[in-house]
Symmetry: C2
Subunit: 312 residues, 2 copies
């Protein structure tokens, strides 16, 4: 077992959200912080029961649990959590086909990202940290059109049509999972700006008391700009902390928050260099304080879980 690790099984992070909510980007970012060789990534899309043609024929969307081997996904999470390998199915997003499965061994950390990761109780019980991604809807639509037309071989018209067809399934199957997350992470544009991606987006974290979040009061006290923490009621009326980080936050304040959180997990200080990089739409490396601090807060919980602090 690596030093500073107490938990004798993989730490499991869930990243759930609607199509093009930014799951893969966040997953890649977190995996990069932890070190790719220590992380196994599972995408729940791989558990589609039907290929693209079959879905077109039977009229089911990929968001519908009936369109997915949810029981097998559940079984595989449990197996990985118990330290066993799995033979993971593969859904090929480029071709829309189901390909030969791949052998996956559990690693120190497992990130499970996808549409339906919190859809059953047995599944939810497996996670150490549950994140739900909920970007501003216009932003998600823009991201989806960009991705599906450039990487998945759809036309813009097809994507827009698909979005319309999926409204029902999205509301019924995806969004209800928000309530099970320890953290809801929402990227959104500064008011009045059309900026779609990149460094200037703000982020809002809705922090539920289901995890012991780090005490950020020292750096947010008395602050009016950049980073704000407020007690609030969530959309369901439940009490939550709401953390707002502006894309315009100055480097000094962002660094102060980074320092504060890293100092709470000195065991993981060597990971600090890997934080906050992402590849923007122009395929250039960029950094963003809201993204870096979001990755950091999630990493904080993963490190704490690995140290056994959240073990029952």
């Amino acid at each position: 077992m690596p030093k500073n690790r107490k938990l004798d099984r993989p730490v499991i992070l869930g990243i759930v959200g609607d199509s093009a909510a930014g799951k893969s980007t966040l997953t890649a970012g977190i995996a990069n912080v932890l070190g790719a060789d220590r992380v196994a990534t599972i995408c729940t899309d791989d558990y589609h029961a039907y290929d693209r043609k079959e879905r077109a024929a039977n009229g089911l969307s990929a968001l519908d649990p009936r369109c997915n081997h949810v029981d097998i996904l559940e079984q595989h999470i449990r197996l990985l959590r118990d330290g066993h390998p799995i033979l993971k199915p593969i859904y090929n997003h480029s071709t829309g086909t189901l390909d030969r499965p791949e052998y996956v061994e559990p690693k120190e950390y497992i990130i499970l990202e996808g549409l339906l990761g919190y859809s059953t109780r047995a599944m939810r019980d497996c996670y150490d940290v549950k994140v739900y991604l909920e970007p501003e809807e216009d932003l998600r639509v823009a991201w989806k059109i960009h991705r599906d037309t450039t990487k998945r071989g759809y036309t813009e018209e097809q994507v827009i049509k698909q979005l319309e067809h999926r409204v029902h399934d999205s509301e019924h199957f995806i969004r209800p999972q928000r309530t099970f997350a320890d953290m809801v992470v929402s990227f959104y544009r500064p008011e009045g700006q059309g900026e779609e991606t990149g460094a200037k987006l703000n982020v809002r974290h809705t922090l539920r008391p289901t995890l012991p979040h780090p005490d950020l009061t020292p750096i947010v006290e008395g602050s009016k700009h950049g980073i704000r923490l407020e007690l609030a009621r969530d959309t369901d009326g439940k009490p939550v902390d709401v953390l707002d980080i502006s894309g315009e936050v100055d480097d000094r304040r962002a660094m102060a928050m980074e320092d504060l959180v890293w100092n709470l997990i000195p065991e993981a200080s060597h990971l600090r260099d890997n934080l906050g990089r992402f590849t923007d739409v122009n395929n250039t490396q960029a950094t963003s304080h809201p993204l870096a601090l979001s990755q950091l807060l999630i990493t904080y919980h993963l490190v704490k879980a690995a140290l056994g602090h959240y073990a029952v």
Copy 2:
């Protein structure tokens, strides 16, 4: 639970043997006796880790455990035994490719047939009945050439070359599994005859005391022809019963043995009509006493296991 069934999990039959030993034919026959809707069939070839091209490149034969996801096979048998579904990989024998996996639910009976079914202790512990198929070697070679050239797209030359290449792996990985079987079933030709398939083959059952075999003494006593039972030493020196059934056994004697065994499992008498049919090389339905009686002896144990007689 169906009537007359006591065991609260699937009954698992193993049928192991070298390539073209007749595993699929026996599996299909037994499934036919029990009723196809009550049987799930798993072929261990589906757990190949490499497709045909990759095997040609890496020089491993399909008989080599390193060429197979043995740990996943083990996991899947255990899951099915515990009543859980699996997402089973698929090896396509026609194309030599690994295809999209299929969802398999456990049924009352599970037949696991293939090259490596008894290769680990954890796997062996899952079976209720373990059969090893060991036809006369010349017969197996003839069967293999016939099948691989007609159904798997190989030339006769390729098959012969493959057989030569596989001698080592066959000796090291397949044949050692014989020792774990409750029954070794060997079809062989009548002396001096070239008959390769069909009704006139004899069969020899080597019956190990690891299962309580039915008492056949009433029908074999004093008999010199057709059906013989003898106490013998197995190739490893261990005491066994050897049951020989001639392809030339007359209908009356064969029927007497059928009656005797069916009377020991009255709960399954409705299955009797399904016994002993097979499709011969000319794709015509045929019956053979040695085949029918072999199927019956195996069915006997499966029914007894389902009734809970072999439960610990």
